[in-house]
């Protein structure tokens, strides 16, 4: 599939990229985080990570290079890094940790590597806030999320944790990368109000599932699920720590040809918006996959909406199109056991029917509110 031929035209290159996009196997791959690029002034050397084959391809984009080097200078090196979720345990990919370790101190530079994540807050904070406010009858002005307990999984440097804390919620941020938590801890220590409302811990989700079962009003996993090894276990754990009727917020990247072309090739290798090696296309999650796993765990998906990043303006926008980035909101069913479901005893479908029967009254209750 991946030949070692040097390509003459960019057109041919794109065809090749789009073609074998779906054919990469999920074979066990060497844990070599290849965030390597040649700092050659005349060309970009692209290193595509084929799963099994260790071949490289050099593509020359002189004209694109000048445009985007200007963009990079203008934007003062915006290299946003998606949140890394790692360090150990079943869902953590230790290979991803190394990529993020190097950038652990850069979280709070708003014009730096993580700039797109900072500007994504303009979308995800209102998304979380408005959906949670629907469940609060009378909210206090100035502290709309007062009384809510939120878990931010894969919080990184606390980019999303702090705004939620400012809105009055008590937030626990967890991240397996020790350096990230140190940065986050240090940053919040300067603000006395946030210091009290936010707590950070170095751990993975599985480690705290038992002690925090059914304690959170909301769980936020933003830019995380595309980095975990075992998505099903991860989402199961998210469901376990949620109170019945609690909300799960996920933002991630769709697994499409467009997301490969724009999200990996363009963002990482051409324009340098994302550091190379941050994302692996195979781990991207489509909304359909996500929905099916969520539903099977007793979470009913309320909203799925697309997000679009404009690299020229640096702002995100909501979009009908979910083929790149998207945000999802799911609610854990309130009632675990429904009396009428006992009558429907069908082999192999009992759980699913129970889940369905439970989510329907749950949705009704949501609508009533």
């Amino acid at each position: 599939m991946w030949s070692g031929r040097k390509l003459g035209s960019s057109g041919g290159w794109f065809l090749r990229v789009l073609g074998p996009g779906g054919c990469n196997t999920k074979a066990a791959r060497p844990l070599i985080s290849s965030a390597v690029y040649v700092k050659n002034q005349l060309s970009w050397t692209l290193q595509i990570k084929p799963g099994v084959f260790n071949e490289y391809r050099t593509i020359w984009f002189k004209s694109y290079r000048t445009i985007f080097s200007c963009l990079n200078r203008i934007k003062s090196f915006r290299y946003p890094c998606a949140r890394l979720y790692s360090t150990s345990q079943t869902t953590v990919d230790s290979g991803e940790v190394k990529t993020f370790l190097a950038l652990a101190h850069k979280w709070w530079d708003e014009q730096g590597v993580y700039a797109p994540l900072h500007s994504m807050n303009d979308l995800r904070v209102p998304f979380i806030r408005d959906n949670l406010l629907k469940t609060i009858p009378n909210h206090q002005p100035g502290k709309p999320l007062l009384g809510m307990k939120i878990l931010d999984v894969g919080c990184g440097g606390g980019l999303l944790t702090e705004p939620l804390g400012r809105l009055g919620a008590s937030v626990i941020g967890i991240d397996p990368v020790d350096e990230n938590i140190k940065t986050a801890q240090c940053h919040k220590s300067f603000d006395p109000v946030l210091d009290k409302r936010i707590e950070y811990r170095v751990c993975s989700l599985e480690e705290i599932v038992e002690e925090t079962a059914e304690t959170f009003d909301a769980v936020v996993a933003s830019e995380v699920v595309e980095h975990v090894i075992d998505l099903e276990t991860f989402l199961q754990c998210c469901c376990q720590v949620l109170k019945p009727g609690g909300s799960l917020f996920i933002t991630t990247i769709n697994k499409t040809q467009l997301s490969y072309a724009l999200g990996i090739v363009f963002s990482e290798q051409i324009a340098g918006i994302v550091p190379k090696g941050t994302h692996t296309w195979e781990k991207f999650v489509s909304p359909e996959t996500l929905e099916s796993i969520l539903e099977s765990n007793g979470l009913s998906v309320q909203t799925v909406v697309g997000m679009l990043y404009n690299p020229f303006s640096g702002y995100w926008h909501w979009s009908e199109n979910t083929s790149l980035n998207y945000a999802a909101h799911a609610v854990k069913s309130r009632v675990q056991e429904h009396p009428t479901s006992a009558e429907f005893v069908l082999k192999g479908e009992t759980e699913e029917l129970q889940a369905n029967a439970c989510t329907n009254p749950a949705v009704h209750e949501e609508l009533k509110k």
Partner: protein, 468 residues
């Protein structure tokens, strides 16, 4: 967006440095200073109104705001019989802002004067322009500055749990955070007062007038020049009581003279003229002064036949095209007396800050822009800045954002710079255009004024822009 691109093209807009390395001090660990969310430096009309707007904002209910005022607290137990000589023309937009936090009610209970028409005319020709709203709604309000200040102070006292006001406090040093986030250095702005006390803040708003200390400390370039004019203000008694709801302004070659209604028998004078003439006016005895004022409004000494004929020609052409008769020039009420000790002069100039914002700093009011009083827009531009900045900060607070973040501060800057630059340029152009009695320019402005007066939609546009 273009402005943003331009600003990014240079370099990352670095945090300001006030001198050598002392500015980037590292504060290891959390300091014990109080951390305020917003500190407003300067407690004048614009600074106090900004503190009020934030104090009454619904999304700022758990935030801490500090207002620093260098002067003493002005307590107004009883409204004095005599009117103050410093008045401001408040546009409807500014009145809306003041009523949004309840200050306008206090002003209504004290005193103000609404005016419904404005006549602006030339000394060198018959050309005039008359502004009024179709249904004779209030075009604007003349309010004494002391009355506005008192209303603001009362409203600030009502939200003292959120807004702390420190009088006789002047910041002597600002310490800016490092441009790059450092692990152990405080990200806030540190302010040191004259008495040694220190605070930290997430956002510093500079509302300290046209010689802004905040603007200088931050290092923002200020484009400014002094006009060769000073303004003389006084409180005048009219010869006879009239309805007095018209604002009058005449452009003399030496500068515009304006009469603003205060009550049925009183009006406020704002006469911009050369420094020497202004000094003369302030020191001459009262009778001579009153004569000077009356003749400035009535005398047609600067008229020339050439201009008069040319003006009449255009007027005839306009009357052919437009069936409705344009009202003839009216004369302002005559002045009988001037209040003793009410004559004061102050110099005039233009100023505009190249940037309104830096990380964790924003400028509003005269600190950002200074304008000639001929259009009555100075404080209104400041109130417009407050509306815009308060709106951006409110949205940011509701989104849980760091208040000093450039992302929403640049939104405020773009919005206001667009409006203010246009108004500043127009005012400066008018000032220069009307400062001469050279025939070609007089002819140009005569015809221009007559044409503008004839085109109602254009007049409405001008009124709408000025009353925002």
């Amino acid at each position: 967006m273009a402005a943003r691109l331009v600003s990014r093209c240079g370099a990352v807009r670095a945090a300001p440095h006030s001198g050598p390395l002392a500015s980037c001090r590292r504060w290891s660990g959390a300091s014990t200073d109080t951390v305020y969310d917003v500190v407003v430096s300067g407690g004048g009309l614009v600074g106090a109104a900004m503190a009020c707007a934030l104090g009454y904002d619904i999304h700022f209910h758990d935030k801490k705001i500090l207002l620093l005022e260098a002067g003493p607290k002005k307590v107004l137990e009883k409204l004095s019989e005599t009117y103050s000589n410093r008045v401001s023309s408040i546009s409807p937009g500014s009145a809306t802002l003041l009523s949004s936090f309840g200050a306008w009610d206090h002003i209504c209970n004290m005193r103000y004067r609404a005016f419904r028409r404005m006549q602006v005319w030339d000394a060198c020709s018959e050309a005039l322009i008359m502004f009024d709203k179709d249904n004779l709604d209030d075009m604007g309000y003349i309010v004494e500055n002391d009355v506005i200040m008192h209303a603001l102070t009362k409203q600030l006292e009502a939200v003292s749990d959120r807004v702390t006001v420190l009088y006789r406090s002047k910041a002597i040093r600002y310490t800016w955070p490092c441009p790059f986030p450092m692990a152990d250095s405080s990200p806030w702005v540190h302010i040191t007062l004259g008495d040694g006390s220190t605070f930290q803040t997430k956002l510093l708003i500079g509302a300290d007038g046209h010689n802004s200390g905040v603007r200088q400390a931050v290092g923002i370039q200020n484009v400014s020049w002094n006009y060769d004019q000073s303004a003389v203000v006084a409180t005048l008694h009219l010869s006879e009581a009239t309805e007095n709801n018209v604002a009058w302004q005449r452009f003399l070659p030496s500068g515009p003279i304006a009469l603003l209604p205060l009550s049925d028998t009183l009006s406020s004078l704002v006469w911009s003229t050369s420094h020497e003439h202004a000094a003369e006016l302030v020191t001459m005895d009262e009778e001579k002064f009153v004569d000077a004022v009356n003749s400035a409004f009535w005398s047609d000494a600067d008229h020339t036949d050439f201009i008069d004929t040319a003006g009449a020609m255009l007027q005839y052409a306009v009357s052919l095209l437009k069936p409705t008769k344009v009202s003839a020039r009216q004369l302002p009420p005559s002045v009988a007396r001037v209040d003793a000790k009410s004559r004061v002069l102050f110099p005039l100039g233009l100023g505009h800050a190249a940037e309104y914002v830096r990380p964790r700093v924003a400028l509003i009011g005269d600190a950002a822009h200074r304008v000639h009083p001929l259009a009555g827009q100075g404080v209104n531009m400041g109130f417009g800045d407050i509306s815009s900045l308060a709106h951006h900060l409110s949205t940011a607070a509701f989104n849980g954002k760091d208040l000093g973040s450039m992302s929403h501060l640049t939104g405020y800057e773009t919005e206001r710079q667009r409006h203010n630059t246009a108004l500043l340029a127009a005012t400066d152009l008018l000032k220069r255009l009307y400062s001469t009695s050279a025939s070609p320019l007089v002819l140009l402005r005569t015809w221009g004024l007559q044409a503008t007066n004839a085109v109602s939609p254009l007049k409405e546009q001008i009124m709408a822009f000025a009353s925002k």
